[in-house]
């Protein structure tokens, strides 16, 4: 039988809803125990329980980072393991239960004004904080610690944000980033300038996090949909360049670091670069390969950046 875990981080029952919440959600949470992903002490007095996101899931074919929900339990110093064991014992307890398990209930004042003690599954718990992530919270949009993510200036009007997926065969990690130029703009003033939203915003499409993607020894760029322009003079000379900055926006140079010099491409075409030498934690940008464009706003143009990484032996 499924068990359900209950948390309430509000001391006054009158204030149910929002008060005490850390981010994006309420102070009360009930989740199936099967959604528990793990328990981890984050300090000597805190035990964090992480759950599959109530509101979010990985969209198909993407490698976005869904931010999971978590509940922090304030515990007596260095008793996290004892509390974790008590929680697991209760979850795995016998049939003499109704399935409703109160892990932590901070409420001490009821609606009618009477008071009670907080209710905790173990006496070493003294409080809890519920952190339920908001809808569509799929990771950080600025400089980030994980590899799969993009700046706001790289969001197309076609497929939206770049889409990520990754697979591993043996010690080879293959990472794909599909991106769409629709709605993005190439100014045409100078080669190596970033293609992105004219409104601005960092326009990187990926970050080289070696722990995620391995040491990249080959990168390829494949055209999946030939570019067309909605306005301005079209350019089909698209490159991918890497830069240490996470903040480069439209019409600003990203240089030519570890560049894939793709040149003109049509759907089905692929250009590979076998000596990328990409510096760890650098960011990938879509750049202009020439000055051929004149205020080109793309109406089509889907590409796939593929990186082949080798796992470093531990």
């Amino acid at each position: 039988m499924e068990k359900y875990l209950y948390f309430r981080s509000e001391v006054d029952e009158d204030n149910q809803g929002g008060v005490g919440a850390v981010s994006g959600g309420g102070s009360t949470l009930l989740v199936p125990a099967s959604k528990l992903l793990g328990m981890q002490p984050t300090s000597a007095t805190n035990l964090r329980l992480t759950f599959e996101s109530v509101k979010n899931a990985n969209p198909s074919g993407n490698f976005r980072q869904v931010t999971n929900d978590f509940v922090d339990l304030t515990v007596s110093t260095r008793t996290a393991s004892i509390v974790a064991e008590a929680i697991l014992t209760k979850i795995n307890g016998g049939t003499h239960t109704d399935g409703f398990i109160v892990i932590a209930d901070d409420t001490v004042t009821l609606v009618d004004g009477t008071t009670k003690l907080g209710e905790y599954i173990h006496p070493n718990i003294t409080a809890c904080t519920v952190s339920l992530q908001g809808a569509n919270n799929v990771g950080v949009q600025t400089a980030q610690s994980n590899s799969a993510g993009n700046g706001a200036g790289a969001v197309s009007t076609g497929i939206g944000k770049p889409q990520y997926n990754r697979s591993r065969v043996g010690d080879i990690i293959v990472t794909n980033v599909k991106f769409d130029l629709q709605g993005l703009k190439a100014k045409g003033g100078a080669a190596a300038d970033v293609i992105g939203l004219a409104a601005g915003g960092a326009a990187y499409i990926y970050k080289n996090v070696v722990a995620d993607n391995g040491v990249i020894f080959k990168q390829t760029l494949t055209c999946l949909e030939t570019v067309t322009a909605a306005s301005g003079t079209l350019t089909d000379d698209i490159n991918i360049a890497w830069n240490s900055s996470a903040g480069i926006a439209f019409d600003v140079t990203a240089g030519t670091g570890s560049q894939i010099n793709a040149g003109a491409m049509e759907a089905g075409g692929t250009v590979e670069m076998l000596t990328p030498g990409i510096t760890a934690n650098h960011y990938a940008y879509i750049t202009e390969g020439s000055t051929g464009a004149t205020d080109c706003v793309f109406s089509a143009g889907i590409y796939m950046l593929t990186m082949y990484g080798a796992v470093i032996p531990s």
């Binding site: 009930l30 509101k55 990985n58 969209p59």
Partner: protein, 109 residues
């Protein structure tokens, strides 16, 4: 035997979910329970990650008791228990203890 949870706002607005689709309950407003389920329509084909359906129920001042009653209804066992479990039916005024109305249904497309 899997149970199915029934909700009805009106004669033309109702939803039934398998209990395995139940993701959790959040309380963000006094006397309102927000129940989340895996989306029955969205099959993760789009780029959005907000993949859930949401049912909002009204309840009394004791939200905890109402939540527990929902769990009890889902977890009830025995030969006399049916697979079809009415959590909140505003059409016929049938509710689990503590719940007073089924306010709305919302589906992610």
């Amino acid at each position: 035997m899997e149970k199915f949870l029934y909700f009805a706002v009106s004669a033309t607005d109702s939803a039934t979910y398998p209990s395995s689709a139940f993701r959790g309950v959040e309380v963000t407003t006094d006397q309102k329970l927000q129940l989340y389920f895996a989306s029955m329509i969205d099959t993760h084909q789009d780029a959005s990650a907000d993949e859930y359906d949401k049912i909002i129920l009204s309840c009394g001042t004791d939200e905890k008791a109402a939540i527990k009653a929902i769990v009890d209804a889902i977890s009830a066992t025995g030969s006399m228990k049916e697979a079809f479990v009415t959590i909140a039916d505003s059409v016929n005024s049938v509710f689990v203890a503590g719940v007073t109305a089924c306010d709305s249904t919302a589906y992610t497309a």
